[in-house]
């Protein structure tokens, strides 16, 4: 039993699901659902269809070259069953998976950092331009003036007292 890959969206095709198409040149295409199958029949290129994994990898939205991705690969040389090897492999697989997820997440986060910068700048420019919508230009000015005047008067009084 194997979990295959859908030709169009690169999703998992579990046993008992999906459709397999065999072309005259003996190349087989598996599809996980009729959406992928119909798109294929419409001759759409998965590398240009935005929601597929193929597009994401081809346009650099996801991690493509990494050591942790080299572990899961279909090898054509059969290896005789050895309990020790399988046990170790199962454990190793779990660890590799963790590392892979971490790296993939990191990659995407880095890609999105630029957006944060842009956001910051946008906020600054917004505030500069449209502050009048939430705060009148001389909002606290009256109070300020008053305070200033009070302060000045106070100073005057102090000075006069000093003089006297």
């Amino acid at each position: 039993m194997r979990i295959e890959k859908c030709y169009f969206c690169s999703g998992p095709v579990y046993p008992g699901h999906g459709v397999m198409f065999v072309r005259n040149d003996c190349k087989t295409f598996r599809f996980c659902k009729s959406k992928c199958h119909k798109n294929f029949k419409k001759k759409r290129n998965p590398r240009k269809t935005r929601w597929t994994k193929a597009f994401r990898k081809a346009s650099g939205k996801e991690l493509t070259v990494d050591n942790s991705l080299e572990f899961e690969k279909r090898r054509n040389i059969p290896v005789k069953y050895n309990r020790e090897l399988w046990d170790k492999t199962v454990e190793a697989m779990k660890k590799v998976n963790e590392i892979k997820h971490k790296r993939q997440a990191r990659f995407i986060m880095n890609r999105l950092k630029k957006g944060k910068e842009l956001e910051k700048e946008e906020a600054i420019s917004e505030v500069k331009k449209n502050i009048h919508l939430i705060k009148a230009p001389h909002a606290g000015k009256a109070k300020q003036l008053e305070d200033k005047m009070v302060q000045k008067l106070q100073e005057d009084v102090d000075m006069r007292e000093e003089d006297e």
């Binding site: 080299e70 505030v127 939430i134």
Partner: protein, 565 residues
């Protein structure tokens, strides 16, 4: 005396017409379709029925004709003489006689059909090729012998006359095909008293040029003593003339006597006999001058024996010794019977013997484990982990929550507020009802409350603004407006007032007390609720605003299905 009606004699059709009519009637009246998968007796019955029907038809028609035509002896002599004169008595009688014969002849159709069916099922015995013929008393073991030696599957049962007809099997010896013919048993009585089953055996014996294997049952299990069997042998001896004869002592596992013959001897004897007869025949001479045996002349004294490869020698030796066969899976299955379980994993060739029955995991969380299997995986994993450590140390995985200074946070808050305010403004302008021409902002009157509230929200200080300019202006205009209002709403003249006063308003007419009024109002509201909710003008409004709602019919196809479109 039979009454004849000359006017109503049946039409005598021509031969061709007669046949056509009957056959077409058969086609129409009997079932026409038969399939290969029907049971054989049904197929036979189908054909028999057609034949019978045809026969019946012919018979009936001919009988009718014969009955209709008057017999010259039965009718009035006047008519008899008249007919003699006109048609010739002899010719007439002859014609009717022949028709009668034809009628009788047709009755054989059914019999012939049955013969045909049985004939096709007779075994195909080639009378000219090499044959071994088994004969003897019933139940001596002739059918068992043929079952063992050939691929035939003849019925073997404990009762006598199990085999009721001849059976043929084929076997190979010395690269030649041999026929083995099994006969029904023969009992010892004279030829005239033999029944059809025994006669088949006798016929085979009489005509087939074969080696005869006379099978005797030494254990007397067949129910006849050795003496009786010997007597039978003597009585049919004349039939064995000119044929190689082997006497087979069968069932010697029950009663031990050294076996007199083996099959090899029988075949060899027959071959020799056949060659001899051929040599004696005339045809041989034609062939002999074409045959020439070439012997190579000796070049030198070196011995050149025939070369047999080693493998062939080994195999020959193994065949001769009859090496003990290894225990097959089939033998194991028969041994264990019901408990048998097919366990192919025991044949696997692994490094550790005790791992053969392991349950191997195949899938984990959507990944195939077999894709990870690699003898060098542990090394790779170590390298990867080292890399990972280095990366962590280099600080790649630190969460970058930049500690933003307070100023930046304030700016963000303000930006958010600005955005909200903008959205509100947009919504407001959408909700605006524009009746009539667009007036400038100054034409609309702004309430003082509203002005003060808005300005307060913007941060200006709006308490104690009674003596501000706008408030004073408002007071001045208020009095004028109020006065005008009061004038506009002058009460109507006495006449209209009295009329309207005498008639109770519609929502109070017919109601006795407050309780009833309340209930009525409730009922009214209830009946209007649904209509209002659906935005209908009234009860009669059945207008559908949206026959093809967009949210059901448009949009991209996500991970779901399209069968509800």
């Amino acid at each position: 005396m039979a009454l004849y009606n000359f006017k109503k004699i049946m039409v005598v059709p021509t031969a061709k017409d007669f046949i056509d009519v009957t056959l077409s009637k058969t086609q129409r009246k009997t079932p026409t379709v038969v399939h290969k998968h029907y049971q054989i007796h049904r197929i036979r019955h189908f054909y028999m029925r057609k034949v019978k029907f045809t026969q019946q038809n012919y018979h009936d028609r001919l009988t009718q004709i014969l009955a209709d035509f008057p017999k010259l002896d039965d009718i009035h002599p006047f008519y008899a003489d008249l007919m003699n004169v006109l048609y010739d008595k002899d010719h007439y009688k002859l014609a009717l006689g022949q028709l009668n014969i034809a009628k009788n002849l047709i009755d054989n159709l059914e019999y012939l059909e049955q013969v045909r069916q049985h004939l096709s099922r007779l075994p195909s015995i080639d009378p000219n090729t090499r044959t071994l013929l088994l004969c003897g008393y019933p139940n001596v073991g002739k059918s068992s012998f043929i079952n063992k030696v050939t691929r035939a599957d003849v019925d073997v049962q404990p009762y006598a006359f199990t085999t009721k007809s001849l059976f043929v099997g084929h076997m190979d010896y010395r690269y030649l095909r041999w026929q083995v013919v099994d006969t029904p048993g023969i009992l010892d009585h004279p030829l005239e008293e033999r029944n059809t089953i025994e006669m088949q055996a006798i016929t085979a014996l009489a005509h087939l040029r074969a080696a005869v294997l006379y099978v005797m049952d030494v254990s007397e299990q067949c129910g006849h003593t050795l003496q009786e069997q010997l007597e039978l042998f003597n009585s049919i001896r004349p039939l064995f003339a000119n044929k190689p004869l082997i006497i087979v002592a069968n069932k010697c596992d029950v009663k031990k006597i050294s076996e007199l013959s083996e099959e090899n001897q029988a075949c060899d004897q027959l071959l020799a006999h056949r060659v001899n007869t051929k040599m004696k025949g005339k045809k041989v001479h034609d062939v002999l001058n074409r045959l020439h045996l070439a012997m190579p002349a000796k070049r030198d004294e070196k011995e050149r024996p025939p070369f047999i490869p080693e493998g062939a020698m080994m195999r020959r030796k193994a065949m001769e010794v009859d090496a003990p066969k290894r225990k097959l899976e089939r033998d194991l299955e028969l041994e264990l019977g019901d408990d048998y379980i097919l366990d192919l994993q025991k044949y696997w060739d692994l490094m550790n013997e005790d791992e053969k029955r392991d349950k191997i995991p195949e899938v984990w969380e959507g990944h195939n484990i077999a894709d990870f299997i690699d003898p060098g995986i542990m090394k790779k994993l170590e390298e990867l982990e080292k890399e990972e450590e280095l990366k962590e140390r280099a600080g790649e995985y630190d969460s970058d929550e930049e500690s933003e200074d307070e100023e930046m946070q304030e700016i963000r808050i303000l930006a958010k507020q600005i955005r909200e305010k903008k959205q509100l403004k947009v919504l407001e302008s959408k909700e605006k009802d524009v009746h009539g021409p667009r007036m400038p902002r100054t034409a609309t009157k702004v309430e003082r409350k509203r002005l003060e509230k808005e300005m307060g929200n913007l941060g200006l200080d709006m308490d104690d603004k009674d003596d501000s300019h706008y408030a004073q202006q408002a007071r001045r205009s208020r009095s004028v407006a109020k006065k005008r209002k009061r004038e506009a709403s002058a009460p109507p003249t006495s006449r209209t007032r009295s009329q309207s006063a005498s008639r109770p308003p519609r929502d109070q007419s017919g109601l006795r007390d407050a309780k009833m009024a309340k209930k009525t109002k409730k009922m009214m509201k209830k009946s209007q609720k649904d209509m209002n909710r659906q935005g209908k003008k009234g009860e009669a409004d059945r207008h559908v605003f949206d026959l093809k709602p967009k949210h059901l019919l448009a949009g991209k196809r996500k991970s779901g299905t399209t069968d509800r479109r």
